[in-house]
């Protein structure tokens, strides 16, 4: 059994490790099985196609099983014909790669992600048409297999100005190229997020079986329509010319909590508990707003790994159609059980409250029950003014109390605070100067390098204090928290220490507004 399944008081054990978790992500046992799971076996294929269509097309409830099976058999025949075509047109393919090689925009991208099968079949490329990159995928496949011949594996390649991280798992080869400050470990964490995203769509066992049957299978057909989920995971950082705080949760392997007064949050939790406790086969209830966690209520002995939660956030963030109507779809939480599907009822609470509720059940026929549970929870939250409280917070451009606090420390530009006991992260809104892309890139680079040095596997650090041209930066890891802070460059050391003290005291006082200590059970 997985460590994540330990009851709450011990979540510390799994969470403390979570920052370094990506370092040994490889070590995940492949045969973990939750008792509650149904094995994705005989009808797994159909399930996943269902899930898939629903997720990708986001059409409601039912799907035509006959249609999906016929698509599958059609796919079979095209794959064989595609193969013969390939062998004829290798020259053309190489010319295509030449196209990209001379395409300075493509070459100069700050980040590339390539996914291919062990047989060298293109699956995904963040930039450019992966078909046109077939020659490059071929080279990657050859390099990986040459090194594998010595019972070894490529981890990374380093060159002037660019580095590559490799990951080879379960018939998939994932490669990240980066021109940013991101370390190999951070790139690998990103690759593992993408890998888990794929597992979440297909499950591990389905993936293995597919490639066992046909080494040359074109996985793009199974992933069609879900590229946006992969893209959104990868477009988290500034490489996509976007100023987005999502990168911080990814870098720290954590999630954000929706700030709420303690009383409101406990009202919400008890509303969920009272309506869910008697519902059979309900495993998790997750309430999310604005990409932040409002509440997570779980069955005893079960908990969700932060990386699985990030996949849930990603799914909600990417799927507009959840706003229109409730959905019922299969979902695999790979850190929990990479081989089975659960079923999620996903819906926004009301038309005026953009909080999204997921009810995750073992029973694939529980759609109607979940819908009524959701209605009852919503009613109760409405009556107890909780929806209003959520809306009030959502209407603010940023959390008012945190903003106040920041104003009282003018030289503190930004910080990340992560309690060791939970994989949750607190940080303030981006302020001047980090609102422009180029400055934000610098901030991102600062955090990448701080986190990399603090969590360096072979020589970790407890503290970094650095005076740079444009800012003063501090990283501090204690027994209870991790703090990373960025100050104006003119600040002196005594002020830094004073502010850090003040900030820590304030967070400790307001802890329950910004963090969830223990996830309640039904």
């Amino acid at each position: 059994m997985e460590t994540e399944q330990t009851p709450t008081p011990n979540t510390a054990t799994s969470d403390t490790n979570s920052t370094c978790e990506y370092l040994d992500a490889e070590g995940d046992s492949e045969h973990e099985t939750g008792d509650l799971y149904q094995e994705a076996d005989a009808d797994a294929e159909q399930q996943h196609h269902q899930g898939h269509n629903i997720i990708s097309e986001a059409v409601s409830g039912q799907t035509n099983k006959d249609l999906t099976t016929s698509v599958e058999s059609l796919a079979l025949s095209t794959s064989t014909s595609a193969k013969t075509e390939d062998s004829v047109s290798t020259n053309a393919v190489e010319e295509d790669l030449d196209d990209y090689q001379h395409d300075s925009v493509w070459r100069g991208q700050k980040k590339h992600i390539f996914i291919l099968s062990e047989a060298g079949k293109p699956i995904y490329s963040l930039h450019g048409n992966e078909d046109k990159l077939a020659a490059l995928f071929g080279v990657i496949q050859v390099l990986v297999s040459i090194v594998q011949r010595d019972q070894d594996g490529i981890i990374s390649i380093h060159a002037g100005g660019i580095k590559f991280a490799f990951m080879h798992r379960n018939s998939l080869i994932l490669v990240a190229a980066s021109r940013t400050n991101m370390s190999i470990q951070q790139l690998q964490l990103q690759l593992s997020d993408v890998y888990y995203q794929i597992l979440s769509l297909l499950t591990h066992s389905h993936l293995s079986k597919t490639f066992e049957r046909r080494k040359n299978f074109d996985l793009r057909r199974s992933l069609a329509g879900s590229e946006r989920l992969i893209f959104n995971l990868l477009a988290n950082d500034s490489s996509n010319a976007r100023v987005s705080s999502n990168i911080f949760t990814f870098l720290t392997n954590s999630i954000r909590v929706f700030p709420l007064p303690t009383a409101v949050r406990s009202n919400i939790i008890s509303a969920i508990q009272s309506n869910c406790s008697k519902v059979k086969d309900l495993v998790f209830a997750v309430l999310i707003a604005d990409n932040k966690l409002i509440a997570l209520v779980r069955m005893k002995k079960y908990s969700i790994h932060p990386s699985d939660l990030r996949l849930i956030f990603n799914l909600i963030e990417c799927t507009e159609s959840f706003k229109n109507s409730p959905h019922w779809l299969p979902i695999c939480l790979p850190k929990f059980n990479m081989n089975g599907f659960w079923h999620a009822h996903i819906s926004y609470l009301t038309n005026d409250c953009p909080a999204c509720l997921l009810l995750i059940s073992v029973d694939k026929n529980a759609s109607d029950i979940m819908q009524s549970v959701k209605m009852r929870i919503t009613e109760k939250l409405e009556r107890s003014q909780c929806l209003q409280a959520i809306n009030e917070e959502l209407q603010e451009p940023h959390n008012a109390k945190l903003y106040q606090q920041m104003l009282s420390m003018p030289e503190l530009r930004h910080f990340l605070y992560k309690p060791k006991a939970t994989a949750q992260l607190l940080f303030p809104m981006l302020r001047h100067p980090y609102k422009t892309l180029s400055e934000f890139e610098r901030l991102e680079a600062i955090y990448c390098s701080l986190l990399h040095r603090i969590h360096n596997q072979s020589r970790p650090l407890k503290l970094i204090y650095e005076l740079r041209d444009r800012e003063v930066i501090l990283a501090w890891v204690t027994a209870t928290y991790e703090l990373y802070a960025v100050f104006e460059s003119i600040v002196d050391k005594a002020t830094v220490i004073k502010y850090v003290d003040k900030l820590i005291k304030w967070i400790e006082k307001e802890y329950d507004v910004y963090f969830i200590r223990n996830h309640a059970t039904f």
Binding site: V142, I146, G160, S458, E466
Partner: protein, 461 residues
Amino acid sequence: MSQVLQRVEITLRSFYVFNSSLSQKEGEERKKVLYYYPTEVVEYTKINDVGLSEGIIKFIGTFTNEDDCKALHTQKTTQLFYQPEPGFWLVLVLNVPKELKLKDRIEVAEYRGGEVSDRIYRAVLRQCYQMYRFQHGPMQARLTANLAEENQQREQQREKLSLELHQFYDKYLLSFRDLASCDIMDMLHSIQYLALEKRIFLRAHNFCKLCGDTFAGIRDCIMLYNQEQIICGGKLNASDLYSLHAYIQAVPKGADPGEDGAFVEKVTPPRVFLDLDNCIAPFYLLIYRALNITLCLFVDVAPQPEFYEELHAYMGPQLISLARDIADEVSKRTAANLGESGSNDASSTSPKYLFINEQSLKHHTNIFRHGKNNQKSIPRNVMSIIADLANPIEENCTQTTPATEELQVKATNDFWVVKRRCNWRQYYVILCKSKATLLDVTQEAKRIFEQELTDDVFFDK
């Protein structure tokens, strides 16, 4: 949970030199492999390994024009790449440290590639080339035959170069010192200078300059103390000086010159290649010893016997007297230092410092002051942290303005490293204080900076 049964440190797996342009036809792949260690490996493996390196270089070429592949990391190895001359690649393949552990009664090997610092071993690789070039000159200079026509001559030249590489590297790799203990000093290629009082330093300096002025054939003159510490470095660039320093240490002491100075080798003085005024040219190296002083003279043409005699007559008496005065000064300093810092200086908890001048590559440190055997006084992780923090000194320093930085880190074993960098100089202070605060450490480091930076050795004279 798990117990370490055995730890295997970094070891050399292979080292090779290749040039892809040397094999134009299929079936002639072996021709591009100019050197491969271990020599006894079957050709098939050599060609495959070179093939993988070529593949990696080509792969990178898809994304960048810079042709600047630096390293490949696999679970079991770290492979460093270096292209010192267009087309010529040197690759150093290391087995990463390995720990055999007992997990649930099963023996598992854990590879600890993260402990290998690329920067340090890339510098080691760079020195592999520099040492070769110092003794044999650039590789490309050996392959002068025209590509199209003189096929046979070309092949002869290739074979000759390959032979030369074999003769050199078979010996050089044997002398590879314990790879696991390579550290920041190996990375920066810096050299400790002898601390001398200003007046006596000027005497030594003037002596070197006068030698060059008096004898037209002498291009440069370097003076060392005990074959180890540099007294004056002449015009040599930092990298050649480092190679010379390494070379001199390997030269046998020769017969004791007694009360007189003497040349170590007069019949066939070694030829070395120096990069003077951006042009790599051969020179004859004459080594002269007088007491503790070793004098290295570089001359353009092979000297005649009369030249040696003239030089000996000129230098002998002056150098002997200088050597005596320097020896006096050194013993005085050592006594003073011992009295001042007491005997606990070598313990791991006393403050340590390291100052490096990035331009001259002089360093000044108390880390190795009590002999190299004591260097374990600083834990490995701290040495690696310094290597992470250090600004690498690459062959082509492209930065125009030196950055100013100040940085403090605390390792998990309570060692603090304080770094300052300004004006092309890097300063490190290493303290072991678990209870100290950020401000305490700042104070303490400041005190050490002020105390040690007055040392005139570190400033340009």
